[in-house]
């Protein structure tokens, strides 16, 4: 599962931003005693676990609107500081969703094909300025088309911004030379990963099969 694998990229004490969608699920796989500070662009650092029913506060939520709690050490701040932290490089990891990622680490995740343009939100700033940017997404579209491509055909969110791609099939690092396949996820095979990827993959000498 993508979120569980993604959680392994987080270390104790890190500051982490989780985008809307699959990334939101990552919290469930991070131990509380790691003191990870989850950041939310609506002006919160220190988002805790989802509250139990009846304990939601209407103004305490993730940027996506899901009810939230706080951990000790949490703080509130305005939108300039929420993004100031990002641009100043204070976030160790940002995990974001993706529609397309190129072999150069370009990201497209803001214009859904066939839908209208609804504005880029804060995606570009997160993608450009977090120390490490990890895309969590399905390996192919609903139509079965590769989302990992030579060149993005959708409008770009940001260029050269992605460090790691995690899908249900594989884990790939973005390197100077291109995409380095480091893990194949059970039950998928190396052939299936290559066949469903639209860009050349270099195979790591330490390639792992993970379940």
């Amino acid at each position: 599962m993508i979120a569980r694998r993604a959680a392994r990229e987080i270390r104790p004490g890190m500051a982490v931003n989780l985008g809307i969608g699959i990334p939101e699920l990552v919290t469930d796989f991070v131990p509380n005693d790691w003191n990870v500070m989850f950041h939310s662009v609506n002006g919160i650092l220190g988002i805790g676990p989802t509250p139990s029913k009846g304990h939601e506060h209407p103004y305490l939520s993730s940027a996506g609107g899901s009810p939230a709690t706080l951990v000790p050490g949490a703080s509130f701040f305005d939108s300039t500081i929420a993004y100031g932290m990002i641009r100043r490089g204070k976030l160790d990891v940002a995990m974001i969703g993706g529609l397309q990622v190129s072999r150069k680490g370009h990201l497209a995740n803001w214009v859904v094909p066939g839908k209208r343009v609804y504005g880029i939100g804060g995606g570009a700033e997160l993608a450009l300025y977090a120390k490490r940017v990890i895309v969590l997404m399905s390996h192919v579209t609903e139509a079965g088309e590769p989302k990992i491509v030579k060149e993005c055909t959708l409008p770009l969110t940001a260029k050269n911004c992605i460090d790691l791609i995690i899908t249900e099939m594989a884990v790939m690092e973005v390197t100077e030379e291109g995409l380095l396949l480091t893990e194949v996820m059970y039950p998928y095979t190396l052939e299936e990963v290559i066949g469903n990827t639209g860009a050349p993959l270099y195979i790591s000498e330490q390639l792992q099969t993970v379940d």
Binding site: S40, V41, N42, G43, I44, H57, P58, Y59, L60, S61, A63, G65, F76, F77, D78, S79, T80, A82, Y83, G84, I86, R87, R116, V117, Y118, G119, I120, G121, G122, A124, E125, L128, P155, L156, T157, A158, K159
Partner: protein, 227 residues
């Protein structure tokens, strides 16, 4: 004359400065922290052709999105309208002129207006299409775009507590753009849950100094049906 107490007014009195064509700036993020009674009051005034500036278009029935879905808005400066399909429809039909900015850049542009600086320099990498028609400058070999400050005629904000001078403290994630809008608007109206005497809020914990607040209205907390 006690100018402190005179800031506390009704919604109708506070909204006297809002008329057809007013540039209205609002706090809120996904509708959270947008003042509900003031939005309702503006709807009831039936003003037209507003220009809006705020983080997002809210929802069709929540936040500033209500002004859009009731057809009162001509122009919108925001970071996204994904949560308000009605805004997308009006944009596609050419009835709503939308200008998009990256979310953190928009917040800084509003703050720049609020502190009286003319603009900021933004990294040239920030997204596609952001540079259209904008001035560029080169510093130490890198290219930046000039993003002018934004101010507005009237700002509507939401806070948890005001004192009678207008000092404000906010409520969790409902802070977001509210302190920035308070500074950037020529006239700022704060809708609050509670009003206390000046001196009752610890000066160290005041987020928005009262000098930025022109009118204070007590929130009725009810989102009434309309039309």
């Amino acid at each position: 004359m006690n100018s402190h107490l005179s800031k506390i007014v009704t919604v109708e009195q506070a909204l006297e400065a809002v008329s057809d064509g007013t540039h209205l700036m609002y706090g809120g993020f996904g509708g959270i922290g947008t003042p509900p009674s003031l939005i309702e009051g503006i709807l009831q005034k039936r003003v037209q052709e507003l220009t809006l500036t705020g983080n997002d278009a809210g929802y069709p029935d929540l936040g500033a999105g209500r002004l859009i879905s009731h057809g009162r808005v001509k122009r919108l400066q925001t970071s996204h309208i994904g949560s308000n399909p009605e805004a997308g429809r009006q944009m596609m039909e050419g009835r709503l002129d939308v200008r998009f900015y990256s979310q953190g850049v928009l917040a800084e542009k509003i703050r720049a207006g609020g502190v009286g600086i003319a603009g900021i320099l933004v990294d040239g990498d920030l997204g596609e299409g952001h540079g259209v028609g904008k001035q560029q400058v080169n510093i130490a070999g890198r290219t930046y775009w000039i993003e002018p400050a934004i101010t507005a005629d009237v700002g509507i904000i939401y806070a948890r507590v005001a004192d009678t001078f207008g000092n404000l403290i906010y409520d969790k994630g409902a802070r977001n753009l509210n302190p920035l809008v308070a500074m950037a608007a020529d006239i700022t109206i704060a809708e609050v849950e509670e009003i206390v005497p000046a001196g009752d809020i610890d000066p160290e914990r005041i987020v928005t100094p009262g000098i930025y607040v022109d009118y204070i209205v007590k929130s009725d907390g009810v989102k009434r049906e309309w039309d």
